[in-house]
Subunit: 215 residues, 2 copies
């Protein structure tokens, strides 16, 4: 099967599939079809088919998916069997909010340490260690860090980004509201919260201007 990247929407449904499949006993239900899953979970069959096709390929004709294998593939997809390690730079309010959040590990990512150039926050009370920037490079190399999270301001984001690339980080999650430049080999994902809120505002004004036409 050619492996293709899983969309955010599909990823979001995987925990639901897993909860359901784990409740089945694979000895009693060795195979399961997308049709059954969609009925049991009250989800659209086309959607379930597409999700499972991305994660596990086509399934066997008339049999469906081997339950145990499907569970493993869904778990792999969430990275549960192979933790990926991340560091965060910038321990302002947003940075600390992310450090405090403990939902990342359910999706296979652990924030190993945070860094800040402000010496006053170093070693403050936090469940994650906060280190000074001069330890960044050696820490990332030693701990084989793959993901860098940028929660500094716009002014220093590119500098932090360059430092991450130099230290071997290959995927960057950027919260600074600016365009970052990375080499082609590095994945960049921008998280613009203002844009998300703007999108909601826009949907709202659209809904207000075009009320239900059937009424």
């Amino acid at each position: 099967m050619e492996k293709i990247s899983v969309s955010k929407a599909t990823l979001g449904r995987i925990p639901t599939y897993l909860n359901y499949l784990r409740e089945l006993s694979p000895e009693k239900v060795p195979y399961i079809s997308a049709t059954t899953i969609s009925k049991e979970l009250n989800l659209g069959e086309v959607q379930v088919r597409k999700d499972l096709a991305v994660v596990s390929g086509a399934g066997r004709p008339r049999l469906g998916y081997e339950t145990e294998v499907l569970i493993e593939q869904l778990e792999d997809c969430l990275g549960r069997n192979k933790m990926t390690y991340a560091v965060l730079v910038g321990t302002g309010r947003l940075g600390r909010a992310l450090l405090q959040y403990d939902g990342f590990e359910h999706f296979g990512v652990k924030i190993t340490a945070a860094f800040d150039c402000n010496e006053q926050v170093i070693n403050l009370d936090s469940k994650t260690e906060i280190l000074p920037m001069n330890q960044f490079d050696s820490f990332c190399k030693e701990h084989k860090i793959n993901i860098g999270i940028i929660t500094v301001g716009e002014g220093s984001a590119q500098q932090v980004c360059d430092q991450m690339v130099k230290s071997g980080i290959t995927a960057i999650w950027n919260f600074a509201p600016c365009k970052l430049h990375v080499p082609g080999s590095v994945l960049l994902q921008n998280e613009n919260l203002a844009l998300s809120l703007a999108h909601l505002r826009n949907r709202l004004s659209h809904a207000q201007e075009t009320p239900n036409e059937k009424i």
Copy 2:
């Protein structure tokens, strides 16, 4: 022109279009084409065409868009001429990070007040007023609040959501990692940060498994 909802990606490019168009003098450049804009901004022409079609319709054959009108329509899209008011419930780290962020107003949304049931945080030093929950209903009705932002934990999110709906809020931006139930007339947008990070991890593991095949 039939008005359709503008995608988040398109919204994100609108400030770029606006910056460029505002630098032109509408007297000297009364009309501008999607082709010109895409060349000047080094963006794909198909993308620019689609973006402008959503915001402003098709443009005039051989002339393009009336520059001044296009600027106005793009500004409307960002809500710059009509501020929408929001309140936030839950002033933990994430809530405070959002309150501190001043980029929302550029996209036409102002967080007017924040609410918390913890009396210790009420009236703490914050540029936005933090009020107790018993003032929520009267505040929202008096200030005609349209958007509610939920940054409380999973346990109380549905209760806060119900309160918002009761107080006339018609769009909810939910950061709690749970499924909320709202009436059909209320817009719900979930922001699952763990899922965003999981998506990046997934893209990363996919990139590692299928390195550039040309090499």
